[in-house]
Symmetry: C2
Subunit: 377 residues, 2 copies
């Protein structure tokens, strides 16, 4: 279990005994049961969506009120150990969009998937490339991941075969949770990011590379991704994350005006990826090429609306160093150069393996997302 400081107060949905699921805030290794504090009716709901729909002014005032109740100790009668509760999926997901915003990751994947071409495609520095994932298979941290089956074809094979994925992978990502909706036909400006986005989760976009490699032209990834996406249970607010904000790296070539802004930020977050407890990578978020405000502006530039509960993710976070790569396909050069886990050669996920991704921004914890692989059925 993660430990959360008194200025963080991330929100999540917990179940305690046979009581109804409801909303709590994390404080240290405790959950604050928010319902009896009577701050908002929305805290009795089984997802954060009703709270998220209240919008920025309510988020800010409720956070201030809760910070004060923590400071005065008024929350103490309502603390429950995190070890005594089950954390559920915090949001009912509307649409799930996955971006591809790490230059290092896009370059690495380009080299692996298209070895005979320029790794970074011509559009990549002009727009945050993204696609829609499957919202209905976004699952709570701790949910077992059944090894997916499907079609895959070796480059030299005449025809595809069917069977369990042999190249099951992770993708280390940051997910952004939309609170306030936008209207159909209206763009969201980069300056309105904080009006629409409530906070972040740690996200593992499980990926079956063999399935993905065969299916993905020309319409993009589908079954190689859609079997499961795990998110951390505690949604950390942008307000709490503000101390981790850093300026966005310079973008060259300059972006079109709808993607430009004076106050574009990124977050100085570091992930830690463990397989069966062994640390295998520490991807850094701060140098991601596209800011989350640009992702939101791009996603709505065509008039597409966002809804409360929409989730959009950064894409795999990879740094420049070998021990900063956010997927096994990168860490192992597509399986050709195994890494070492618990003293043994390791390429892709094996049945029974447990992957845990934690994240923090200095002292600010973002919690963890975890999942264990179970055999194909």
């Amino acid at each position: 279990m993660s430990v959360f400081g008194p200025d963080n107060l991330p929100l999540g949905v917990f179940q305690y005994g046979d009581q109804s699921p409801r909303i709590g805030a994390a404080l240290g290794d405790q959950v604050i049961d928010l319902t009896p504090l009577e701050l908002s009716d929305t805290f009795a709901e089984p997802t954060l969506n009703a709270f998220l729909a209240l919008g920025r002014p309510a988020w800010t005032s409720l956070r201030a009120a809760l910070l004060e109740l923590v400071r005065t100790g008024a929350v103490e009668p309502h603390l429950i150990p995190q070890s005594a509760v089950t954390m559920l999926l915090p949001i009912e997901v509307g649409d799930y969009v996955d971006f591809y915003a790490s230059e290092q990751h896009a370059t690495n994947l380009g080299r692996l998937f298209r070895p005979d071409a320029e790794p970074l495609l011509p559009n990549w520095k002009h727009l945050p490339v993204g696609y829609h994932g499957r919202a209905g298979t976004v699952v709570a941290s701790g949910t077992d991941i059944v090894r997916p089956s499907g079609q895959r074809k070796a480059p030299d094979a005449a025809a595809p075969t069917y069977g369990p994925s042999q190249r099951l992978d992770i993708e280390v990502e940051l997910g952004y949770v939309v609170g306030s909706p936008s209207a159909l036909g209206q763009r969201v400006s980069v300056d309105d990011f904080r009006e629409h986005v409530y906070g972040v989760v740690v996200l593992n976009d499980w990926s079956a590379r063999d399935i993905q490699g065969w299916e993905y032209v020309p319409l993009g990834p589908f079954l190689g991704k859609s079997f499961a996406t795990s998110i951390s249970p505690w949604v950390v607010s942008l307000d709490a994350l503000e101390s981790a904000a850093v300026a966005l790296p310079a973008q060259d070539p300059p972006v079109l005006p709808y993607l430009a802004g004076k106050n574009l930020v990124n977050y100085d977050i570091t992930f830690e990826v463990r397989i069966n407890g062994d640390l295998v990578s520490t991807p850094p978020y701060r140098d991601i090429y596209w800011s989350p405000a640009q992702m939101l502006a791009h996603m709505t530039v065509n008039g597409a609306s966002v809804r409360t509960g929409d989730l959009y993710a950064s894409g795999t976070v990879s740094g420049t160093e070998q021990n900063q790569l956010g997927s096994l396909i990168e860490l192992t050069k597509a399986g050709r150069e195994p890494i070492t886990v618990h003293g043994k050669d390791y390429t892709f996920l094996q049945d029974g393996d447990e992957v845990t991704i934690t994240a923090h921004a200095g002292d600010l914890g973002l919690g963890e997302v975890t999942g264990r692989i179970t055999p194909a059925v």
Copy 2:
């Protein structure tokens, strides 16, 4: 308004005066207000989802009961003219998946988007290629379509520009509405198609070809599609459609066992596409390469679950003849060979244009989906 025979009884959500939205069945040019008939509590809901979640046995028995009430004339006190009601979005959409199941369309698009390569990619006859679309922008027939803006780049330009799409297009499709959910980690067999899918809608997958052409590598279509997808208001049940079922065309090479079945069907449906009232195309559905049962089996072969309200579409329906193509990009050879609409050369959609797609299977009407283009904002 479409006219529906007494054996069809498609379901939709209507609003009459200032009464709450609720569920009705179409009969001729009337709506049967189902709530006072007390067949099911779910008919008082503002979407079909609760009814859909009841599953196949309930769908069948409720249809039998309604057919009998129509036969005896017991519905007559509950008829409201369709002209007096507003039809709303019939379902709350879970995930929206768009397939690419017409061989003729995939071949035509391959030639236009990748002129230097084989038009049909190597995976196309081994699996029904598909991708996730944006569920939150599936809109009711009649909703105005705001011309999307975004990035596009001419092949010979050095950099992309921003502005309203100049190549706004339609895609004529059939949409399948999922009723009964499936469990995460479990495959749905081709034989269980009718247990999970309730019925069909006519679907127009509006497409901005210039935006799509620039953005779509390597992760597939995104903003070129996500601004709007329109569906017809009346969901025609598979039971009603059964009279239109035809054997699936032979598939060569043979498909993998999870896609094979003895009773795979297609539907002998013909679309009529009108722009400002002028008939421009009549795409035939019957020769679509992949059956909807195969699409469902493929979509879940990796263990992805389906939810009540999920919508999956065939992809653009195009026949072999010039007057059977299901998109303007095909009808006009990417704008190079205009068609004639109301006596004038015509390539892509202009502001103010109204597109109406109707569909029928012999005497069985599927109704219509319509939308008018409004200027970019």
